[in-house]
């Protein structure tokens, strides 16, 4: 249940007690109390002098960790309100324990004007839920032709620039975009996919696309793009964040570049850690994703790279899609899946299966993505904002349409039981979600 709009009295003091306190940034994982005052973390374990709690939250049996930071969540406004609204998706975010998110610019119109960005952040802020950080359009209309006003957009609140789900610009435009962004010190977020190699494709090039007769996108669409971007980074000095790496070969290139000191970060969508092209089954359009789900070996390589930290962050790549856009033949279905409410349980499952400690697991969805965003958050350090996720790590729940707060019900995990669920979410010390 969400409690948006409930203003806590100034100076409200909260004690969260009995929880297992996990702060990946400081590699902390032990029981303790969390003391919140004035919307900030006042102290851990030991109450500050004179602290008297106005509210005591008994979190026995729960984990208290920093609110999740999601690098890609589509809120669908402006322009796609029939798919989802800010209200529905912000509710979904906090229901999933997400307190900070970056939204890609692929709205309609795209986020290529400061006015749009200001309106979006103002609307989002008025909902008193998660912090929203727009990623601005790299090119006007995401058309890959003219550069968007990056300085103006940054002033309006953009944390980086991206093409969203649109194709990468041609190499010359990309070179100029990176050169310009480097001048002003902005980070460019790019999904590495060679546009001409990917053109018309709807599934990974392999046995499954061959069996199903689906036009396909080869792995080299990703590796060619990564190699090109590495060249362009070297030539321009631009900082690049690679979005949604999807293949073993792609992640190997990233790992190699990082070991050579290239200032590169990258993320993976949580779907790609759990699914592969086999899961398309008999044309399940909920498995139509961009980039496409690849082979079991790719999935396993991504899981390993995320566990080893070569992949910096796991994101939901949340994309609520209306039923009409999914109940069509696979190749005509709009790509994407609703996922922000599944990010936590799916990340926990990956961590368990990879033998990671809880703090290591949660690092991929808290302080590491916060560092990429360049915003505070993702940690429980004293003095930081009291953005907290309280979750029950053992709680089983079944993904059903009616339990999802997101307006999008399009997920390959429908009907599956997951373990771990956000029970209560606080943003700036205010409870913004409480599970009934």
């Amino acid at each position: 249940m969400s409690r948006r709009g409930r203003e806590p009295p100034a100076g409200m003091r909260i004690e969260i007690k009995g929880a297992r306190l996990v702060d990946p940034a400081s590699n902390r994982d032990r029981p303790g109390s969390l003391f919140i005052a004035d919307g900030k973390i006042a102290a851990l374990d030991k109450a500050p002098d004179g602290f008297r709690a106005d509210e005591v939250i008994d979190a026995t049996g729960l984990v208290a960790c920093p609110g999740l930071v999601d690098l890609a969540a589509r809120l669908r406004e402006p322009g796609f309100e029939y798919k989802a609204t800010l209200e529905s998706e912000m509710r979904a975010a906090v229901a999933g324990g997400v307190t900070t998110l970056a939204c890609p610019p692929d709205t309609d119109p795209p986020l290529d004007e400061p006015g749009l960005v200001e309106m979006l952040t103002r609307r989002a802020a008025s909902l008193n839920a998660a912090h929203v950080h727009p990623v601005g359009a790299l090119t006007v209309g995401l058309k890959g032709e003219r550069l968007a006003e990056m300085a103006e957009l940054t002033e309006a609140g953009c944390v980086g620039f991206s093409q969203g789900q649109a194709s990468l610009p041609d190499t010359r435009t990309l070179l100029n975009a990176l050169r310009y962004a480097a001048t002003l010190g902005y980070t460019v977020w790019l999904r590495p996919e060679d546009a001409s190699l990917a053109a018309g494709g709807v599934a990974h090039t392999g046995e499954v696309s061959t069996r199903l007769g689906l036009p396909s996108i080869p792995t080299i669409a990703e590796t060619v793009a990564i190699r090109t971007l590495l060249e362009l980074m070297a030539a321009t000095g631009a900082r690049v964040h690679l979005e949604r790496v999807s293949s073993a070969a792609g992640v190997a290139l990233v790992t190699q570049a990082k070991s050579q000191g290239v200032p590169l970060t990258c993320d993976v969508s949580v779907h790609h850690l759990h699914l592969c092209d086999r899961d398309i089954g008999e044309f399940d359009s909920n498995c139509r994703l961009a980039p496409p789900l690849r082979e079991p070996g790719d999935r396993d390589a991504l899981r390993r790279a995320a566990a080893q930290g070569a992949i910096d962050a796991i994101c939901s790549d949340h994309a609520p899609v209306d039923d009409d856009s999914k109940q069509v033949p696979f190749g005509e279905a709009e790509p994407g899946a609703t996922a922000i409410e599944l990010l936590l349980p799916l990340t926990l499952q990956w961590g368990r299966e990879s033998g990671l400690k809880l703090a290591e697991t949660l690092a991929a969805v808290t302080h590491r993505p916060a560092r990429i965003l360049g915003v505070p958050g993702g940690t429980l350090t004293a003095g930081s904002a009291a953005d907290v996720c309280l979750f029950d790590p053992e709680r089983p729940w079944v993904v059903r349409r009616e339990v999802l707060a997101s307006q999008g019900k399009n997920t390959p995990f429908l009907g599956l039981e997951l373990t771990g669920r956000a029970v209560r979410t606080l943003v700036g010390g205010r409870t913004v979600h409480e599970l009934r």
Binding site: G213, L214, V328, P329, F330
Partner: protein, 321 residues
């Protein structure tokens, strides 16, 4: 993580055919049963009165989102010989261009009490989508979807091979040409593997051979002469002229030189090899007229058997309800 098991759409728990969407995963007994049933219908087509009352009173809708006079006609003839009422809809030209969704079109037709839909669509998987959304008891037959499947064509090809070669388990079969874009090839490959063909080959330029096709159980040959060596069955695929546009091939002439079937190349197959083609043929592109009309060609019998096989499938689906 593995997603919830997806039960077969086309075969019920009782092993009976509910829809015919693909030859992939069809049990061998079911394929043989279809071919045996078709045997009986071949004789119907040879009679003076070419009609049996098996589907009297049933409404069969030919719903073609992609034009094809020939395939539509063979289904129409098959349905009429089973005494069904046939309604032909060329939807490609009407509903979808007005913005109606595929499922809306199907639901509208279903409201007219259709018993069976014969569907052709340019998108792979469209018949699966329809089969998933029709009322229980309404059957869907895939008459060709994108590059995915054309199961009645695949089955009529099995009928033809069985007619001439009797047993599948000692055969060498080559499929030649544009496998990448061919739903016919995919349906043949699955059916041939199911029926136990030990040596199944695919021959074509690498631009027209799909990725990892070996995993379907075929051997890939770049060279046609090597690929045809000692074959019992040679299946030629249709090459569409638009393949020259996507930089997949330089020219029809060069394709014919490398992968067109002429008497000289055919001589490398067994002397009693049969030559097949799903039609319509491009003479001089994938096949030389001398071969197409030659003694080893069974291209016209394929068409005749096609009616019987479609009657078999329709009668099984119609009576299963």
């Amino acid at each position: 993580m593995s997603l919830s098991s997806k039960a077969s759409l086309q075969v019920g728990p009782d092993g009976k055919l509910k829809h015919l969407l693909t030859t992939e995963g069809l049990p061998a007994e079911l394929v043989r049963h279809i071919l045996d049933t078709a045997d009986q219908f071949v004789s119907v087509s040879e009679r003076d009165v070419k009609k049996v009352p098996l589907l009297r009173g049933k409404s069969i809708f030919n719903v073609f989102f992609e034009n094809s006079t020939r395939t539509r006609t063979t289904f129409e003839i098959a349905a009429k010989r089973l005494s069904a009422d046939v309604i032909n809809l060329n939807v490609g030209a009407s509903s979808t261009t007005k913005g109606e969704t595929l499922l809306d079109t199907v639901w509208n037709l279903q409201a007219m009490d259709a018993d069976m839909f014969i569907v052709r669509h340019s998108q792979s998987g469209a018949p699966h989508l329809i089969a998933r959304h029709v009322k229980p008891g309404v059957a869907v037959i895939n008459a060709g979807d994108g590059r995915h499947a054309h199961p009645t064509q695949g089955l009529l090809d099995m009928y033809t091979i069985r007619h001439y070669k009797k047993d599948f388990t000692g055969l060498t079969v080559a499929i030649v040409g544009d496998v990448l874009h061919s739903r016919v090839a995919r349906s043949q490959i699955h059916a041939l593997k199911t029926l136990g063909v030990p040596d199944l080959r695919v021959i074509g330029p690498r631009t027209l051979v799909p990725a990892q096709v070996e995993r379907l159980g075929v051997r890939v040959f770049d060279d046609m002469v090597a690929g045809l060596k000692d074959c019992d069955v040679v299946i030629m695929l249709r090459l569409q002229s638009e393949r020259m546009n996507g930089a997949l091939l330089p020219s029809a002439g060069e394709f014919f030189k490398c992968y067109g079937l002429n008497a000289e190349k055919l001589a490398h197959a067994k002397p009693d090899a049969i030559v097949m083609h799903p039609g319509p043929m491009n003479r001089g592109v994938e096949i030389d007229s001398a071969v197409a009309d030659g003694r080893q060609s069974v291209i016209l019998p394929q068409v005749t058997f096609g009616i019987a096989v479609r009657m078999a499938v329709m009668s099984m689906l119609g009576s299963a309800q």
